[in-house]
Symmetry: C2
Subunit: 204 residues, 2 copies
Amino acid sequence: MSRMKSIDPSIKPGEATPPRAAERILGVARDLFYRRGIRAIGVDEIVRRAGVTKPSLYRSFPSKDELAASYLRQYDLEFWERFDEAVDAHPGDPRAQIKAFLIRVGKRTQKTDYRGCGMTNAAVEYPERGHPARVVSEANKQELRRRLRAMATAMGAGDADTLGDGLLLLIEGAYISGQLFGAGGPAQSVARNADLLIEASLKK
Amino acid sequence: MSRMKSIDPSIKPGEATPPRAAERILGVARDLFYRRGIRAIGVDEIVRRAGVTKPSLYRSFPSKDELAASYLRQYDLEFWERFDEAVDAHPGDPRAQIKAFLIRVGKRTQKTDYRGCGMTNAAVEYPERGHPARVVSEANKQELRRRLRAMATAMGAGDADTLGDGLLLLIEGAYISGQLFGAGGPAQSVARNADLLIEASLKK
DNA sequence: TGACAATGTTACCGATCGGTACGTATACCT
DNA sequence: AGGTATACGTACCGATCGGTAACATTGTCA
């Protein structure tokens, strides 16, 4: 007899192929951490809303800090997915890539309950150097800076590093302003301002 | 007899004219809240480092949240002092005012242990609408936006609101990047990028 | 000198924090 | 069927959270 090694359609929902506790925990943590902040959420609330118990959490994650770091590593993956979507949509045209990315960022910032960038927020919540969450956040931002500078170079900007950094400032400003001002805030103009800055930097 | 109503030089230090507990508490809270974050600091540590006890804190401040709000109100005052210093240094020249302000911001962001803007950080730490700390922070940012847009108008920018918002994005980006990257980070270029953006917005 | 108000101190509260020891059930492979 | 490893739940830990009741001390007036 050939045993089914993947999914058995006869199983009742939520019984077999049980959504691994670790995945449910990470999913709930991801949502709560992003929306309400990492420090604001206790592990009890996470396990309660995940429908599991605390030892289940601590068998999959060494500590709350590491759970937060896992959340950010997942966030990092999804971030670069979004970023590369914009890049891939305009091959060889970094200016259009930036514009496409920022148009989407600007739109997201106008949604209610927008809470900014999970990476940026985590770095604000954990200023101590070496904190697991901050380490992930810093690495993400370093890489973002590197890529923005590279794109500015590819655009042929006179001072590419300055332009790359300027774009980073606008992006971070959009993340923060988005959650500070809500809809109608300054973040909606991030794409236009970035394009103006690029324009000015190329003519130099 | 004329009684001395202010300071009596015969008093021993730290005995009479005792530095009002409320002031010492606020001073310590201000330092700790800014450097390590509001949520990260407990009231016990504040009173311990202020050399007082907890009831002293709660007689002067209704709650920790209100103490945080008081810290931010003081921060607000000092912020506008710095802002107006740059403004007053260049009467009638908003572009030079912005530049002067941002040069100073850029320098501050390069200092070790720079922790960004207390207002911005507080808003990240407390996303819940109506939180006392967040209320102060939002009011400060609204006013900053208003003034930046007014200055952009005074510069004669074609789309003054967009320029004002662009400057706000750069500023917020500098606050965040300053604490994310430390010295050598993108925030050091905030003044130059702002000036480039202004240049581009005026020629439009 | 004595009353009053303000300020400081000791000791404590229930709730929640992150984290764990230990017993129980379940799935899988032989 | 039986053995075994894995996953899960009950109950609990000390520490710390924000906040308070009741008492002692002080300075300032009449």
